[in-house]
Symmetry: C2
Subunit: 399 residues, 2 copies
């Protein structure tokens, strides 16, 4: 039923950077929300010695704070969706959600390249989480809409002569026997890390389950997310969202913001001519909601939406932050294997048509994150704000 607002929403990975603000947003809209998360992101922090700059609370304490602040309650199920399809099916049977937002994947490109263990974990964890979700919905025969967080990075960063469409590309197949045939294909992938590769493989799973088993699926091709807080996480310090600034988990904007807060030069990799798509965290949450409220029809192919506000060169990102904060810019050898420069244009028509008005970096809302970084600067681990160059890590790529 298109345009029907969901009443019950499961948020897989609802303890994470995007998942937590999404869960609060959905709860704030009066929907019954169930977070399903195995806290793998917190456990990986323990493994790597990384940490959120902000003092995020335990799931239980966060949810208690949300009850006190909003008067609304969110359920929490501690479950590894990548390993237990029966338990996931039971959760679906119990709550019968109209929609599931699927964030339950390892989401760092650099992490996915650290070693064989990390590569294989990313492939197995991400694909089996997706496969188990698809199977659980097929088994329960619920009309549940899946909204998956993918990445616009699945297409790689070699320059192309066209604006990146929303998933599907119209092409012509030349033929000697027939008139040339126009077909619409999934835009070819060119993943730049095992993380991105796992998202490409997810896309194959989605295509199959939408066509063969008639599941209703939206795949959001998200840009690099920046920012820390949302309107809702700001309401109470106990609701604070995570802030990653290290070279594994911190995206480029958040690393620059941390550097600016500490009076450290902004470290641009190479010449900074890499162009990437960006979106602010609050906008990402807004777009997830628009996707939830506008599901594909039954028997429709996978709906792919670019969850992107703007495309910027890394050096332009540094320039905006430097101009306003006075931070210096320093150019360091690129520790990543990637094109030194590229052009990139990405359409976001499907969200624009639904009324999405993006926040741009130049609008200045990023100063909030500098304030947060300054507030917690004493907790910062300075070793973590520079790129690593040892071992396999130097092959890490992504944004």
């Amino acid at each position: 039923m298109p345009n029907a607002h969901p009443r019950t929403v499961l948020v897989l990975g609802g303890d994470g950077f995007c998942g937590w603000p999404t869960a609060l947003d959905q709860s704030d809209r009066g929907r019954k929300v169930v977070i399903v998360d195995n806290l793998s992101r917190r456990k990986i922090d323990a493994e790597l010695g990384t940490a959120s700059l902000t003092p995020i609370q335990s799931p239980e304490r966060r949810l208690e704070a949300w009850r006190e602040t909003s008067g609304r309650s969110i359920d929490f199920v501690d479950l590894d969706v990548s390993s237990d399809v029966e338990a996931l099916s039971a959760v679906l049977e119990e709550h019968r959600p109209d929609a599931v937002v699927h964030f339950a994947e390892q989401r760092s490109a650099p992490y996915s390249m650290l070693s064989t263990t990390h590569r294989n974990y990313t492939v197995r964890n991400n694909l089996m989480a997706t496969q188990n979700l698809l199977e659980a919905i097929r088994l329960t025969r619920l009309p549940t809409h899946i909204v998956h967080l993918g990445s616009v990075g699945v297409y790689g960063y070699s320059s192309k002569d066209w604006t990146m469409p929303e998933g599907y590309l119209a092409v012509t197949v030349p033929s000697s026997e027939h008139p040339d045939r126009q077909v619409e294909i999934l835009h070819p992938f060119e993943p730049v890390s095992i993380y991105h590769l796992s998202k490409c493989m997810d896309a194959q799973l989605f295509e199959f389950y939408a066509r063969y088993d008639r599941l209703r699926i939206t795949d959001l091709h998200q840009g690099v997310v920046w920012g820390t807080q949302t309107r809702l996480t700001k309401q109470n310090d106990l609701l604070i969202n995570r802030f990653d600034y290290d070279s594994i988990w911190g995206t480029v904007v958040n690393r620059f913001l941390m550097q600016a807060a500490l009076g450290h030069p902004l470290t641009v990799y190479g010449e900074g001519e890499q162009t990437r798509a960006f979106i602010h965290l609050e906008d990402a949450v807004t777009c997830v909601n628009l996707a939830l409220e506008n599901p594909p029809a039954a028997r429709e192919r996978v709906r792919i939406r670019n969850q992107v506000a703007e495309c910027l060169r890394v050096v332009d990102v540094a320039g905006v932050i430097s101009d306003s904060t006075g931070a210096a810019i320093t150019y360091v050898d690129n520790p990543r294997i990637e094109e030194a420069q590229n052009t990139l244009q990405v359409t976001n028509d499907s969200f624009s048509e639904l009324g999405f008005i993006p926040t741009f970096l130049r609008d200045g809302i990023w100063r909030e994150s500098v304030d947060i970084a300054q507030r917690f600067r004493d907790c910062a681990d300075l070793d973590r704000i520079m790129p690593h160059r040892s071992g396999e890590h130097v092959r890490a790529v992504g944004a």
Copy 2:
């Protein structure tokens, strides 16, 4: 080093229907051969109550018979490559193979659709086997060439206006801003079962590891294999190859041959207007060897070759066998979800250019399989030669 014949070849899945004759063929060519297999195919027979019509021997007994017959020895390692990348790496370090032939995947489309357990097993087993192999080769830094057995079925069976190329399709991307751009893409996938889907996802893994980690990979897009014995497996009854005739493991030609041997009508699904690509087992073994002897150069993209002899409609296959044996043909409701009819043209230029001369069904060599079926007819389970129509099995597809 293109055109250098391999001296040492690992055959993953070397106990199976295609793997066993391939291992013998490579050994017969004077190469050191190591079979790596966890005997999963034999274990699944125990699970399903299916069985090879022919009395296949234990790996140990087969290999002893091969030593006696040929004077050559083949090593056997009992290992699940989908679950143990360290052990696989150790095998690679020990034998330092020039090439690995990768058959170590669940290979039945109907099996892959039986239930959630079977769907998930197929995804996890096939992808992690491939991922572990790629990682093991990356870790050991050997220049080992991977030859993977894929399926021409990854492209689905909707009719297309072009001859299926070998992996890559030249298309034009219309542009309003630039001249139309010609690009070569991986031919779009349209898998018709979870089994085929796993092969599409394998293709994504191969593309990444060839581009990013510079692994040398050949992906063979094989047609439906028919036949039972090869020149080498015929030499000694203890070397006999497996013969599957049931609706899970038996491909359409072998099911018809069994029915002909038993005087049973040939059961054509629907009108039999489905067109599929076929290849005889001996030809498949020959093509694997041609692929091994002609690896891609270092830094080349994945070499994709169509391992196909001819395309035939199912009703034509039945006709050839009926004309020669006098078997009746009966049309049954199609238990599979598939197009009722399709056209299909598949090029096999890359093998033709290497001197491959295909065997066609009409050449009559299939009579050997009827002889085998008649010899072992008393062992046949008649319930197994008709399609199942109960439970989820009726949704099973593939060939």
